[in-house]
């Protein structure tokens, strides 16, 4: 007897849609990282100087740091509920390539947390004195950067899913790995503002993104198997 298996793409789509529906019903949780993002960027003018021309110097970096922290905040609960209620176990047993299902879940997570950060960034950037000419590069760099960060964070969340006090540990694991993103992302923004071409750092960000996209699911599925099997 041959069992009929759902095509992988359809299964991944189901996972994606399920997460979107769940998020839609608890939209206040989705909004929290976004509020955090705005609050953190508000702190910098208060702590340093309200002078916009001085803030402009560090504006790109501040937006990037805030986006990094905000997307970390939302990552902790990424796999927890599914591992606790046995959903992930069913995925492992389903015969589907686990990496694709997890990638679909991470993609839903990115649409819910990464994308709003990207869309919000020009507004936040304006508050820090970033000129309109830098908006495009800021959004492009964050688009690539938050995508990579969601995958890296997915690996971290999969590793720490069964751990006490996982959120602090997750930040400790993911932040050092995310440093290159921070460097390239904020460099791209400041190069654009200095009148240089930001193509170099943006291409490097894209390269890192595609590497994370190809290798990330392997690491994520290995980590989830470890968390589920015992």
């Amino acid at each position: 007897m041959t069992a009929v298996r759902t095509p992988t793409l359809a299964a991944a789509k189901l996972v994606f849609q399920r997460d979107m529906t769940l998020a839609w019903r608890r939209w206040d949780e989705v909004a929290q990282p976004l509020i955090f993002y705005v609050v953190v960027t508000t702190m910098f003018p208060l702590a340093t100087t309200p002078d916009l021309s001085a803030l402009r110097e560090i504006g790109g970096g501040v937006v990037w740091v805030a986006a990094l922290l905000a997307s970390l905040l939302a990552l902790e609960a990424l796999f927890r509920a599914d591992v606790e209620d046995g959903t992930t176990e069913q995925w492992v047993l389903s015969g589907q390539p686990l990496g694709y299902l997890l990638l679909a879940k991470v993609a839903a997570h990115w649409v819910l947390t990464g994308l709003p950060l990207v869309i919000m960034s020009p507004i936040v950037g304006t508050g820090l004195g970033l000129p309109t000419s830098a908006w495009g590069v800021l959004m492009a760099s964050l688009l690539l950067g938050t995508g990579t960060l969601s995958i890296l964070g997915g690996i971290g969340a999969a590793l720490t899913v069964g751990v006490r006090r996982g959120s602090v540990l997750l930040s400790l694991l993911v932040l050092p790995l995310a440093m290159p993103l921070l460097i390239f992302g904020s460099r791209a923004v400041s190069m654009q503002m200095d009148g240089d071409s930001p193509a170099g750092p943006l291409q490097l960000l894209a390269a890192i993104f595609f590497m994370a996209l190809s290798l990330g699911p392997i690491a994520m599925s290995a980590a989830i198997r470890i968390s589920v099997e015992n």
């Binding site: 069964g162 751990v163 540990l169 932040l175 490097l204 690491a219 290995a222 980590a223 470890i226």
Partner: protein, 243 residues
Amino acid sequence: MSWTWFHKLASPPHAYRILGSLAPWFGWASLALILLATWWGLVKAPADYQQGDGFRILYVHAPSAWMSMFTYVVMAVAAGVGLVWRIKLAHAAAAACAPIGASFTFLALATGSIWGKPMWGTWWVWDARLTSELLLLFLYLGYMALRASFDDPQRADRASAVLALVGVINVPIIHYSVNWWSTLHQPASVTKFDKPSIDLAMLIPLFLMIIGFQLYFGWAVSRRLRGEILRRERNANWLKEAA
């Protein structure tokens, strides 16, 4: 040719015995080499024409920086072997490497900072090599924190192995990104450390010191791995017979 001797290496009782007999060789050889290199480096080698005697901290700084990266690679390879072939001893070896690597990294950072004070006039410079070394320390600390947060040793082994492998892919990216960032951020004059040709009289003690550090690593890993085996096999029969 029979490979049984090789397969035996993965069995805890054999490894425990072999490591026990290897450790003193590593230990004494490293002590002798480090003492020789210390004397050579501090007394015999000439002072630097630019930095005077201050450069002599190089003999601790460079070997520990080298060892900090070497240890990470050894740890990741051991973790990968443990993950693929499910060899418990390889996981134990990775666990034994981490604190040693973190100590080497800390030593490299501390000596670099002490060196920086007279040379650059400040304890800390956001220099590329210093920064990537600092990030390496964070990677070690994250690895150790993840390992410590599991109650079940087998899960701790495998989870931290995945992290070590992700980390080892990232180390070159971090290194080059930091290099690039630093060259854009500060003028090259600050890090004027171009030694086009380091004098042979200075180089020989450096090589001796690096070999000495490597042997020290062998000694420390042997000792730690024996401890790790004892902890993991504390209920095993062979230990009761041996004791």
